[in-house]
C-alpha cells in the first residue's frame, strides 16, 4: 500500500484495520474507529485555502463528554504535506502544519475560559480541555505527539478565529501544539462523503 503522507507513522488497512505499516505501536482495540455517523470518511475530498485535499486517515479521541476527530489529509503543498482537520460536532479547525513543541516562556491555564499566553502579546482562551478515555485509528496517520493517549487535549481560540490544539503532557517541555484556523461547520463542504439511507438530508 502506497503511503501518501510525508510524515506517515502508521498505516492501517482500510478494509480490515490490520497494521500495514507503522513506526509506532498501538493496542489492538485501537485499530479501527467506532461508527459515529461521520459523513467525512477516508477518501473524502475538499478544499482549504483553494487547495484540494484528500482524507487518508483519522485519529478519534473519545473524551468523557465529547470526542475529537483528527483527520489526516494529503495537501497539495510541499511545505506542509499534511493537513490536520480537528473536528467535533460543534467546530472544525484546519491546520496545514505539523505538531511543534510548545514554546518556552509560555503558559496554559488548564480550565475552560483560561488563558494560553505566548510572551506578552499572544493570548488565546481555552474552550475545551479533556483527557482522552480512548483513542482509535483508521487509515494512514501522520506523526502525532502521544499515540498512547497519555495527554490532556486542549483547544483554545482567539477572536481572529485562530485556534490552538495542544497535547499537554505532565511536563510543559514535552508538550506539542498545532496552530489551526477555526471555521463554521456549515461553511465547510466535503465531497465523496458517506450517505446514510435511513436519514433524509
Amino acid at each position: 500500500m502506497q503511503r501518501k503522507l510525508k510524515e506517515s507513522v502508521l498505516v492501517l488497512c482500510t478494509n480490515c484495520n490490520a497494521k500495514v505499516f507503522g513506526t509506532i505501536d498501538i493496542p489492538a482495540e485501537s485499530h479501527g474507529v467506532p461508527d459515529d455517523y461521520s459523513v467525512v470518511q477516508i477518501g473524502s475530498t475538499g478544499k482549504y485555502r483553494d487547495k484540494k485535499f484528500e482524507i487518508v486517515g483519522r485519529i478519534r479521541m473519545q473524551m468523557k463528554d465529547d470526542f475529537r476527530s483528527f483527520w489526516c489529509a494529503t495537501y497539495d503543498d510541499d511545505k506542509n504535506p499534511t493537513l490536520w482537520i480537528c473536528q467535533s460536532l460543534e467546530s472544525i479547525a484546519f491546520a496545514a502544519d505539523t505538531f511543534k513543541p510548545f514554546p518556552p516562556k509560555s503558559d496554559i491555564d488548564l480550565n475552560a475560559g483560561g488563558k494560553v499566553v505566548f510572551g506578552d502579546k499572544i493570548k488565546l482562551y481555552v474552550n475545551f480541555v479533556s483527557a482522552p478515555l480512548s483513542i482509535h485509528y483508521e487509515g494512514e496517520i501522520a506523526r502525532f505527539p502521544r499515540p498512547d493517549g497519555r495527554f490532556v487535549f486542549v483547544h483554545a481560540m482567539n477572536n481572529s478565529n485562530s485556534a490552538l490544539v495542544i497535547c499537554v503532557n505532565n511536563d510543559l517541555n514535552d508538550t506539542e501544539m498545532l496552530w489551526a484556523h477555526t471555521r463554521e461547520l456549515a461553511d465547510v463542504q466535503f465531497e465523496n462523503t458517506r450517505k446514510f439511507n435511513e436519514w433524509p438530508q
Partner: protein, 421 residues
C-alpha cells in the same frame, strides 16, 4: 473507504437491559429503554429522577427546519435554580447537519445550533453585550441549572454539563445567543424564535399536542418578521423617495399665467354687478391659482368668483376677502392683514374657462388686480405624506416599547425601570 466499524451496545447498570444507542459512538449518556435509568457508559455514572414528564415531541420524531431534517434523540426537563422555573430541551441530531436544540418555555420555542464563530470570553467572563449576526445581544439571564428529568440519548453527560456549568443567555429578538461554561468546556449556541405552529408543522404533528402558549416568549418577534432597523430603513427610503418625487414634479411644471387684468368699480354692470373675464385655456388637469391684489389702506375688498367650464357648463364657486389695516398706538406702529390673496383650486380639469367675478367694494378703494395661473405650485401633499409615512413606525415603536418592557419583566437585567427598582 473506512475499515469495518464496531457496533456499540451498552448494558443498563440497573436492569442489565442491552441498549443499542441510536447515536452510535456519539452517544455518551442515555436512559435505559426498559427502566429509564440515566447512565454514562464511559464514566459509570447513573442517576434516577424525582420527576417524570413525557416530552411533547416523542423521542425518535423527525422534524425539518429550514430544509434540514433532524431526529429527536433526547429530552431534558431543566430547572433554573434561583427563580425555580422549568423549561424543556429537545436534543436533535442529523448526520448531515450535526446537532441542534429545541428549547421550550411557556409554549414558546427557540431552535438553536452550535455557534463557533464568536469569542465569548474575556478573563473567564462572558462578554456583557456580545456582537453577532451584525447586532449586539443583550444579557437576559445568567443562571445555574439542574436536570429534573431526562429521556433518550445525549452526546455529553447532560446532567453533569448542565449542573457544573454557568449559563448565560443573550437576546436580540428573534435571535438568542447562549453560552455555557464549566471547568472543561465552553459552548455557545445561536438560536431563533420559532412559533408553536412552525414547530408542529416541522414535525407534522397537531399544534394542540404542544404545550399551550402562555404569554410572550422572550425572543418572540413583536410584530411581524422584521427588525426595527429594517422598518426605519424602509421608512427613510420611502421619505426620500417622496421628497425626490416632489422635487421632480416641482421642476417639471412651471407656474404659467393664463390671464391677468385690472378692473375698476366702473366696469360693474348696473343690473348684474358682475365682471366676466375673457376665456382662457387649461391644457391639462392642473392646479389653478387665482391671485387678487387691491391697493388697500385701512380698507377691505371682497369678491365671489365662479370658474366656469365653457364646454360642460361645470361651475365652481369660491370667494375671497382681503383686508389691510394699520395705525399707531402706545407700542408703536402696527399693521394687520394683507393687500393680496391667493385662492388655490385643486385639480381643475382641462378645458376652456372664464371667471365671473362678483366684487364688493367698500367705497374707498375702487379697483383690483386679478391674475390666474395654471400649474400652480403647492407643497401641502408632501408634508401630509411624510406624516402618513411616519404613522406606522410611530405606532410600531410605541407598541414595541410596551412589549419590550413586558419581554424583560422576567429578567434580572432589564434595561427598563420596573416597580421593583
Amino acid at each position: 473507504m473506512s475499515g469495518p466499524s464496531k457496533t456499540l451496545s451498552y448494558e443498563c447498570p440497573k436492569c442489565k437491559t442491552v441498549n443499542v444507542p441510536k447515536g452510535k459512538a456519539l452517544t455518551v449518556a442515555l436512559t435505559c429503554k426498559s427502566c429509564g435509568v440515566y447512565f454514562c457508559p464511559h464514566s459509570n455514572i447513573n442517576d434516577k429522577f424525582s420527576e417524570k414528564r413525557d416530552p411533547a415531541i416523542p423521542i425518535g420524531s423527525r422534524g425539518t427546519f429550514e430544509g434540514k431534517t433532524y431526529e429527536v434523540l433526547g429530552y431534558v426537563l431543566k430547572l433554573e435554580k434561583k427563580h425555580r422555573y422549568k423549561w424543556s430541551e429537545y436534543f436533535l441530531f442529523s448526520p448531515y447537519h450535526g446537532i441542534a436544540f429545541l428549547s421550550e418555555y411557556g409554549g414558546n420555542w427557540n431552535f438553536l445550533t452550535p455557534y463557533a464563530n464568536h469569542l465569548w470570553l474575556s478573563d473567564r467572563k462572558a462578554l456583557q453585550d456580545p456582537y453577532a449576526m451584525g447586532q449586539a445581544f443583550k444579557l437576559y439571564a445568567k443562571y445555574n441549572a439542574a436536570v429534573l428529568y431526562a429521556q433518550g440519548e445525549f452526546f455529553n453527560d447532560t446532567i453533569a454539563v448542565t449542573e457544573d456549568s454557568k449559563h448565560w443567555e443573550h437576546i436580540a429578538p428573534p435571535y438568542i445567543l447562549t453560552f455555557e461554561q464549566s471547568n472543561t468546556v465552553t459552548g455557545s449556541f445561536l438560536g431563533k424564535y420559532i412559533s408553536p405552529k412552525d414547530v408542529a408543522s416541522a414535525f407534522k404533528m397537531p399544534a394542540g399536542k404542544l404545550p399551550k402558549k402562555d404569554g410572550m416568549g422572550y425572543t418572540e418577534p413583536i410584530l411581524g418578521n422584521f427588525t426595527p432597523v429594517a422598518l426605519v430603513a424602509v421608512s427613510i427610503v420611502a421619505l426620500m423617495a417622496a421628497f425626490v418625487i416632489n422635487i421632480v414634479f416641482n421642476n417639471m411644471t412651471t407656474e404659467e399665467s393664463v390671464y391677468q387684468n385690472t378692473y375698476t368699480q366702473l366696469e360693474l354692470k348696473d343690473s348684474v354687478k358682475m365682471i366676466s373675464t375673457p376665456s382662457f385655456e387649461l391644457q391639462k388637469t392642473t392646479a389653478v391659482s387665482v391671485q387678487v391684489t387691491a391697493p388697500l389702506d385701512n380698507d377691505w375688498f371682497y369678491a365671489e368668483y365662479s370658474l366656469i367650464n365653457e364646454v360642460t357648463g361645470e361651475e365652481q364657486e369660491f370667494s375671497g376677502e382681503i383686508s389691510y389695516y394699520r395705525g399707531t398706538d402706545s407700542d408703536g406702529s402696527w399693521s394687520e392683514g394683507s393687500k393680496t390673496t391667493d385662492m388655490f383650486l385643486s385639480s381643475v380639469p382641462a378645458g376652456k374657462y372664464h371667471l365671473d367675478i362678483y366684487p364688493e367694494f367698500s367705497g374707498k378703494n375702487n379697483y383690483f388686480h386679478i391674475a390666474v395661473y395654471r400649474n400652480a405650485a403647492f407643497s401641502g401633499n408632501i408634508w401630509l405624506l411624510a406624516i402618513g409615512l411616519c404613522v406606522f413606525p410611530a405606532i410600531y415603536f410605541t407598541y414595541r416599547h410596551y412589549k419590550e418592557v413586558a419581554r424583560w419583566e422576567d429578567s434580572d437585567y432589564s434595561p427598563y425601570e420596573t416597580d421593583d427598582d
